[in-house]
Amino acid sequence: MKSHVWRPLYVALGIIALLLVLRVFLVPNDFGVSEQGYMYGWHRTSNEAEWKKVTVKYKGSEACKECHEKNYNDITSSPHADIGCENCHGPLLNHPEDPEKLSIDRNRELCLRCHLKLSYKTSDRGNLKGINPETHNAGSKCVQCHAPHNPGQLGQKQEVKK
């Protein structure tokens, strides 16, 4: 049995043993196979909780109702009723504490997301009222003439301004 032929085998076994011991120390306790099995289930269980801790930033238009009642009522009875406030003003986060004010985007690009004329008949986009920004009062902000919270009537805007 005292043959040099066995030596590489011992070395290999030694390395395997070392790796297995190292594994015990390096791999976190909660790392293992979940119910999803050997193919898809290997993971650190505590990672699921880590993902659940991400801060919620968007909280929906209902959250704006109590403080900005006028804007809320305006828009919900207008053709823009379905557009959430946070789409145009950014996420609520902890407003009005942090941030104190939400942003107001008066750029034409905001409105052109939907109102750039694209005659795509096979998509609902084709049914939206569209304008050609190069000919429709180029250079002026849309909100100079249209009230974003109540685009139904022109001139409504002057009231909002007061």
């Binding site: 999803q36 050997y38 990672n47 996420p91 690009e109 986009r125």
Partner: protein, 260 residues
């Protein structure tokens, strides 16, 4: 037995005991059995109505902000593609910045090839297709991960462990839908996870809440009363790249064959 021999033998026995102990941890027949009967009560799925999408891109804007993907980096967890199919059957596709700012031009953005103008009378059909992670039933991205940093949760969502990911990029190459990318800040694999923090507390995903037209919906396939489940079961829906066998769980209404 002398001292040398004693030391040798006891080390051998201790080592010999450690080896099978830690090796045994690798295989557990109970787990193998458990794989076969899935008892989870939730299976998150997504439903996209391509007729309703107008390409405003508010979903992309909300997703990037909600999930802290750097706003100006040209990567995003969800995006919207515009398809313009001309009368000669050719598909013209664009998605400038993933449609973060919607589509600000009637011309198609072909990157280095410039802006492509298509005459209105040449258009046979045109539509928008929102894309996001398919949370596959057989996710190839998870299979290729060498370290167990990406995995499928019991409710079907595929997550990435940012602490455990080594950034090798196999999963990014492995995803047939190209939904994965490197996070510009953390330098690890990043992908849509159906806003895991929102759905696990009963909220909808940020993109679903942002969509003014109801083009995006999320639901639980294990709940037969869920409106999304009803549509998937009773109406004509399709999935992307069915032939890959990944069993994608994002279902599309009105998905034309041009969409890949």
């Amino acid at each position: 037995m002398n001292r040398r021999e004693f030391c040798k033998k006891s080390l051998l026995i201790a080592g010999g005991l450690v080896v099978p102990l830690s090796a045994l941890e690798l295989f557990n027949p109970e787990r193998l059995l458990a794989e076969k009967n899935d008892k989870s009560k939730t299976r998150w799925v997504f439903l996209v109505d391509t007729h309703k999408c107008v390409g405003c891109g508010f979903c992309v804007k909300a997703c990037k902000t909600e999930n802290e993907v750097p706003y100006d980096a040209n990567v995003t967890r969800t995006w919207v593609e515009r398809y313009v199919i001309t009368n000669d059957g050719k598909a013209h596709i664009d998605s400038p910045k993933g449609a973060r700012d919607g589509f600000q031009s009637a011309k198609l953005d072909q990157n280095h090839a410039g802006m492509e103008e298509i005459k209105e009378e040449d258009i046979a059909k045109a539509f928008f297709v929102p894309k996001l992670c398919n949370q596959c039933e057989n996710p190839p991205c998870v299979q290729v991960c060498p370290v167990g940093a990406t995995y499928k949760t019991n409710n079907g969502v595929v997550l990435v462990d940012r602490k455990w990911c080594i950034g090798c990029g196999y999963c990014i190459m492995g995803c047939p839908y190209s939904v994965r990318f490197f996070h510009p800040v953390y330098h690890v694999a990043e992908k849509c996870n159906f806003c895991y923090h929102r759905i696990s507390q009963g909220m909808k995903t940020a993109c679903v809440d942002a969509c003014p037209f109801g083009a995006r919906q999320i639901g639980n396939l294990k709940d037969p009363k869920d409106p999304v489940t009803k549509v998937i079961m009773n109406e004509r829906v399709n999935v992307l790249k069915d032939e890959y066998g990944t069993k994608p769980q994002v279902f599309y209404i009105g998905l034309p064959r041009e969409v890949k």
